[in-house]
């Protein structure tokens, strides 16, 4: 057994023990989760170290934010978030389909419990709504993945490949809330407690995308270029639905719900890019890694920016406001103002789209970024208050620091993704 895997298993064991002991001493769960994340980060290889650090930071902030809620399962909830963060750290380093799908499930299932957390009871109604769609999404995703994996062994995949592709993308869309399969998002985001939603809207969004990306890259064939138009249309619908929905909503949590729909549309465009670079050379399928790293870097940075922003805004909702400049910084990152992280995410995605010739999608992404300006600024202005030394402001400050990391142009991140992309092509 390789050392990294052993460390991951050790981290899982610590998490489990922490959760068990937390029934007696609640803080055990918290400290065990932190130790597990430190071990998980140490297990990250050099090529994905920056990615690991971001996930570590987001995971820690999510853990700390749980202290803002008096949950009935306090202690175990730390373990669940720790488990999600570990799976998220792990997925980027594996090329094993079974492990990719396992990571997806490990991130998805804890959210079924987290979504029901509220002070003084359990939010069962929200839980049912959420779990119904998540189960459906997971089933679609898994079947799609298995069909796609099966087509690798077929000389002429044809219809089966297209069906597998569509099912996988629909599963992903349902899981993360891409329109027009987003119906659960506004209801769940407004009915559930803001703290668990901040976790679902941040950490839980990363793994499904990476899983889908990995599977699509590994199973890509000559049909992929033709079918990407489906994902592109879906992404465009999601951007417009999310932004127009957010623009015409008043409730803060609902605005953030639609903003998630829009952001997932942006990130979905990475799926459009990656398979297009598959070409046939002398009868062999060759993955051209030139643009994968751009799309991967863009998608991940946008997911990190989305995570940071969602954590900040949902915590501000919970804490009835946060320090105004911090709110504006998060809003600017969402809009895509340089040099904040949201800008770089969008820029890399746009560049990769330009490279593969999806110019109309580039135009739509830019238009949608412009449409989003009013509601993000409105959100910042309504949630922004004066400075107070409390947990909410501390969390918001931490996530703003994350979005500010890209003040140093993220060439370092891009290079890491380039190395990662090259290893993908080697695996194939």
């Amino acid at each position: 057994m390789e050392l990294a895997m052993a460390m991951m298993l050790g981290a899982l064991a610590i998490l489990t023990l922490g959760s068990i002991f937390s029934f007696k001493y609640r803080q055990f769960g918290f400290y065990a989760a932190i130790v597990a994340l430190v071990i998980g980060l140490a297990a990250c290889p050099g090529r994905s170290l920056y990615y690991g650090v971001f996930i570590f930071a987001i995971g820690i902030i999510n853990l700390v934010s749980l202290n803002a809620i008096k949950s009935e399962i306090k202690g175990v909830d730390y373990g669940l978030v720790g488990l999600m963060a570990l799976a998220t750290m792990y997925i980027i380093n594996t090329s094993d389909l079974a492990m990719v799908l396992a990571a997806l499930v490990l991130v998805s299932v804890p959210t079924y419990i987290l979504v029901m957390i509220r002070e003084g009871g359990a939010n069962v109604e929200v839980g049912i709504k959420y779990i119904t769609f998540m189960v459906f999404a997971t089933v679609l995703f898994l079947i799609g993945a298995i069909i796609l994996a099966y087509t690798k062994s077929l000389p002429d995949a044809g219809l089966l490949y297209v069906l597998g592709y569509v099912m996988l993308v629909l599963g992903l869309s349902l899981e993360v809330g891409v329109a027009p399969l987003h119906e659960w998002v506004p209801d769940v985001f407004t009915s559930a407690d803001p703290i668990p939603i901040s976790i679902i809207a941040s950490l839980a969004k990363i793994v499904p995308f990476i899983a889908a990306l990995w599977i699509l890259i590994y199973t890509a064939n000559s049909l992929t270029a033709s079918i990407t138009i489906f994902t592109a249309v879906l992404a465009a619908i999601s951007m417009f639905t999310g932004n127009i929905g957010a623009l015409t909503s008043k409730e803060h949590a609902r605005v953030l719900a639609y903003s998630t729909v829009a952001n997932m549309g942006y990130v979905l465009t990475c799926i459009v890019v990656v398979p297009v670079v598959v070409v046939i050379e002398q009868g062999l399928v060759v993955i051209k890694p030139e643009f994968i790293y751009l799309a991967l870097a863009g998608g991940l940075l946008l997911l990190f920016a989305n995570a940071a922003g969602k954590i900040g805004f949902f915590n501000a909702i919970k804490g009835e406001g946060a320090y105004s400049p911090l709110m504006y910084m998060l809003a600017f990152s969402f809009i895509g103002v340089p040099p904040l992280m949201g800008f770089w995410g969008k820029l890399f995605i746009l560049l990769s789209l330009v490279e593969v010739g999806y110019i109309w999608l580039v135009a739509l992404l830019v238009i949608n970024s412009a449409i989003s300006i009013p509601y993000y600024v409105r959100l910042a202005s309504e949630l922004g208050i004066g400075w107070k030394a409390n947990l909410t402001n501390f969390i918001c400050l931490a996530v703003v620091v994350i979005t500010l990391i890209t003040v140093v142009p993220p060439d370092w991140f891009l290079r890491g993704m380039e190395v990662l992309a090259q290893t993908i092509s080697i695996v194939i």
């Binding site: 769609f133 219809l159 297209v162 119906e183 639905t241 142009p409 891009l414």
Partner: protein
Amino acid sequence: MNYEWIIFLLLFLAPVVSSIPIALTYKSKEWTEKLPYLSVFGIFVSVLMSLYIFFSFPENLPACRFSYSWIPGTGIDIVLITDYLSRYMGVITAVIAFFIAVYGLDYMRGDYRPSWYWFFFNLFTASMLLVVYSDNLFLLFVGWEGLGAASWGLIGHWFRDDDEIAYVGVPKRKVGPLELSWPPSFGGWRAISTIRFGDVPMFFAIAAIWVFAGNLNISEIEWGTLFVTIGYAGTIILLLCFLIGLFTKSAQVPFSEWLMTAMTGPTTVSALLHSATMVAAGAFVFIKLTWYIEPWELAHIPVPGLEHVYIFVLFVGLISGLYGALSGSGMLERKVLLAASTMSSIGLMFAAAAASFWVGHFALLVAFWYMAVHAFAKASLFLVSGHLIHATHSRFLCGGLEFGKRMKTPFIVTIIATTFLVGIPPLTAYWVKSGMDEVMEHLIHPLGLIPLILLILTSLVYAGIMAKFLSLNFIKGEKPHHEHVEGGGLMKLGYLMMVSVLIYILFYLVLFRKEEIPHEFISAGGLLTSFGVGIAILACYCIALYKPRISALSKLGTFFNDRMYLPFVNDYILPKTGFFVSHLVQDYGNRGIDGFFNTKVMPGLFERISKGIRTIQTGYLTNYVKIVLGLVMIFLVIASIGGMWI
């Protein structure tokens, strides 16, 4: 050498970082009185860094190019260059900014918003340094925009418009429908609006270079190949778009008006604006670009558009030169007269640089060294002018010999700065101007006598207006209504240091023939024609000194003072045209435009989509399941049909 990035970081960031404390403590009078020293120290750090670069960094390619990663995935990097032009210009910019900053400690004492002033002053300096050392056009453009933003902040510094001394023009003086008087707030707005007008096409030109050349590094771009690729029309359009940015920034005809009304800003700003930043930036970028385009080397490649562009620049420069000098000859406001003379000098720089197309590398050196000499001389004159405004509480030329005796230091500095600038033999500018005469003589063959005639005319009138400035301020001017000749120690120190550089350049570089200065200057100065022109300049200078105002020509003077009514283009014709177009749009096109964007089509579309999005959200799980299942089924059916077809 791998520490150079620290030097660059200190060079660019020290002025900005050192001005942040005063910007943040804008509410505290105590701190805003102390912190200007920190801001000046920041500029001093830049001086040290620029000197370090000058003495230690390589001068020749490729060693003098330093590249750092910037915008990943685009190929756009932070590329800095320490070639001949940049290393000299960097020192000139930093040193002049430092001297002016020292002067400003005295000049701006008691001002009502020092935080605003020092922050933008330092940003101005840092932006110009970025322009100077950038090899990458996009990075250069960042500095360029920094200059624009800082100039707006500084020209409109006295935004309350509550002191007539900051105005340009005579209040309530009307010519036709137009009042020829401009407050500071208007000056700031006019500067930024004119510059933005040029920046937009310049930005598109840079984007086009990126697309067609695949590289934005000035020293790396294959200019000849680029011009051949984009062809005759492409070359002309590309370069003209780029040049509009340079012409607006350098206030060349017909974009010169903003420079005159920019005199509403503090004098320190005017000094910096006219010597080493802003207006100089346009000419400097043209010299730098031409340095690497090497148009004289492209003669063998059929790029016909290039010659037309250089002819255009040559005549825009020469016409601007003469226009500025003539306008200055009728002016009676201290700073505006100097502003007109700057426009004239910058015009000559453009013209000399453009002549390189036929003359070669030497013409660029002439343009560059004229820029250097002009920078120190003009900054000295502006600083003196500011001191005089303080001393007389008047922005108009005034002060007789008695006043001159009491203001000995500014008097002497003015004598040195004007005589060293106009081209009187054997003083500093004479050698450079002799080079310019020689360059224009070379153009007789391809372009005729006109360039040389325009240059000589401009030089003669220019000598006259400089002498007029000296005479009406210290010798033959009216007695000032108010005299406050005491104090101003730091102000004197500022312009004394500034003017001393002119003497340094003369003795140590020109007369002692330091190898960095081309020996052609000396040989050009020795030519009989150059000496003849120099003597004619001296004669004009002396005549104007003796007779600074000629009452018989007062009407012509007023015409020149009114900048030959060019303000009508900016303040009357353009606004009227704009209003006419807006009325047309209002009366005929607005219904359609407004209906589409504001009242009917787009809002209706948004409303309908928004209603649709909200209608789905009933809150009932069964409805959601039906919708999702239905959509999934539809997608799968479409995929099945599409899959078979594919």
